[in-house]
Amino acid sequence: MNIELINLIKKDYDVENSRIQMFVNLQLIRSVELLISEKYDAQIFRCPVHLSIGQEAIAVGVSINLQLEDKVVSTHRSHAHYIAKGGDLFSMLSELIGSPLGCCKGRGGSMHIFDKSVGFMASVPIVGSSLPISVGIALAEKQSNSENIVVAYIGDAALETGAFYESLNLAALKNLPILIVLEDNGYSTYSNKEVRWPDTKNVRATTEGMGIHYYSGSGDDVDEINTQISEVILNVRNNKPSLVHLDTFRRYEHCGPRLDDNLGYRESEEILSYIKRDPIEILGNKMINLDIISKTLLGDLVNKVNCYVEDTFTDVLRKNENYLKQFEMNY
């Protein structure tokens, strides 16, 4: 959770309500990603970006169940995971512009977000490679008799790497407190599963066959994810390594700031069906229907979050004014 933002809104909203908290986080991630998308052509964010738009619910539904001391290891698509774990927006945006004020002093960029201070241990963009490291982090927690767990986010293509199977074997062998969150968006860049997985592939059988507890569900309804994870995590804290397989949808292109619906590698029906399952709308509508919040107040909340993101970005530009001048070319 972003404490700064919560403090800004607590006067007007019930920030103790978990749905309000989750909505704020979903909107925060969405707003940040849209800002990056919008400013990208201005050449300010000078590194490859993998936006999380459409996939926000998983990061938020998982992270609301985590303590500060719990550890997270992410992938190339790290923004949602970082923000949901309580990462600092100023540090992240500064990192994306390559500034020394970034969380990795500008050395990592979007694909290598590290922030130990919030338990965000690493982002590893070499697909599959995050898992062995997560196993080691989990072994350290177990060896230290802590109650902390490790969440390792992976995408569906990680199941095509050897490291996945080696790591599941190690996690089961050592009974590690590790939760693997499989964000299955169905695509590896432009390739769907038909060209990558045999028809006979069965992720549940594979996972359980390796000695890892398997759960599956939809990755769109943050409420459902929260409920599911809160149960699974009790087992993980008792050293039962688990994998949660959630279906989701990457709205934007694999890498870059744009929609790529025009390329035709995803059927328009598929795209439309997912747009109807937008995580922010699902939770927003639910809160209105349950009388948790009025439509007007919800609209105001969205505006407040957007303003917070805009203000933070302005602050990033202001504090990095001298830095930004450094790489301007003078022809």
Binding site: P132, V135, I137, N169
Partner: protein, 357 residues
């Protein structure tokens, strides 16, 4: 007589495990009856299977696991009975271990050691006899050491474990049964310090690991022909101790480099380039380089004889390259007399190991 290299490695592990509860040892063979050629013997029973353990055959992920442990403050030592198996974990070593501290903006320390044993002879062949010091040295963020003597092995292992940066620890199988006395001393070598094994004015021989033993033999043979040869034991490859090397070369003006790895794009080229740039015009002869040819190491004992630079052959090339006056035949006789090969076969070390190993 002293202790063997392998027993001093065992002692270094024992003392490191005793002094720091964060130290862990694992790798194939660590917990089995072979105990990685005896180097991990008795450590599991002494320190428990949580700290000293056997691994599943998943070198890549176990190497990544070592990184995760190091990021959390542990000091793992991951080991390979043959260095060649570490290539399965090239991704974790090169992309992750070498770069984590840098990428995190120096937030993480990565105190881990990857111990790699280099095979030679008795049919090791193409995939069990490689010494990867040069290509790991090419990666910023890795430290690479290759100690030659038992006492070097002892101190460098302890310091590698105590280092806050990742260390690739290269250990030649033919050194394991060599012996040396560990004498209590205040003169503990620094991790990155080269050592002058023998001082001289006429020629500098520079090498690492098992090559240092061969250089010492060459130096001792040539001393019978009134040549005072200086032998530089590099000990550390990345970073390497330029000052000690350049000081020696300034004095002798003649250089021979001997590598245990392949010759092209390797250790000898890097050191030669530095000597040429730093001491241009002040050396008297072109640098002479020895190493392995650009072909995989053969398994056949007969083929391997030509693959490794034999001391007899090096004595001949040193003579003709620098125009030294000794008779090659006499030098070879002196070598055979001074260092009679105790083994009947030349594809195994003259002390200790008898194949299979």
């Amino acid at each position: 007589m002293g202790q063997t290299y392998i027993s001093l490695i065992n002692q270094a592990f024992d003392e490191s495990l005793k002094n720091d509860s964060k130290v862990m040892l694992f790798g194939l063979g660590v917990g089995d009856i072979g105990a990685v050629f005896g180097s991990t013997a008795n450590l599991q029973s002494k320190y428990g299977a949580e700290r000293v353990f056997e691994i599943p055959l998943s070198e890549n992920s176990v190497t990544g696991m070592a990184l995760g442990l190091a990021m959390q403050g542990f000091r793992p030592v991951m080991m390979h009975q043959r260095a060649d198996f570490s290539f399965t974990s090239a991704e974790q070593i090169i992309n992750q271990i070498a770069k984590t501290s840098y990428m995190s903006g120096d937030v993480y320390k990565v105190p881990l050691v990857i111990r790699m044993i280099v095979g030679r002879g008795w049919g090791q062949g193409p995939t069990h006899a490689q010494s990867p010091h040069a290509f790991f040295s090419h990666v910023p963020g890795l430290q690479v050491v290759a100690p030659a003597t038992p006492v070097d092995g002892y101190y460098l292992m302890k310091q590698s474990i105590a280092s806050d940066k990742p260390v690739i620890f290269i250990e030649h199988r033919w050194l394991h049964q060599t012996t040396e006395e560990l004498i209590e001393t205040d003169q503990i070598p620094e991790l990155f310090e080269a050592k002058i094994m023998k001082s001289g004015e006429d020629l500098t021989l520079i090498s690492l690991s098992y090559g240092v033993i061969e250089c010492i033999k060459i130096a001792e043979v040539l001393s019978e022909f009134n040549l005072n040869v200086e032998v530089v034991n590099l000990r550390s490859i990345q970073p390497w101790n330029k000052n000690t090397v350049l000081r020696s070369v300034k004095k002798t003006k003649k250089v021979v480099l001997l590598d245990t790895g392949h010759i092209e794009f390797g250790l000898t080229g890097e050191i030669a380039a530095t000597i040429y740039s730093e001491l241009f015009g002040s050396i008297s002869n072109p640098i002479l380089r020895f190493g392995l040819p650009m072909e995989p190491t053969p398994s056949s004992a007969a083929l391997a004889i030509d693959h490794y630079p034999a001391i007899e052959k090096m004595l001949g090339e040193i003579k003709s390259h620098f125009g030294f006056k000794y008779e090659l035949k006499e030098a070879i006789n002196a070598f055979n007399k001074k260092f009679p090969y105790k083994s009947k076969y030349k594809d195994q070390p003259d002390v200790g190991a008898v194949g299979p190993f």
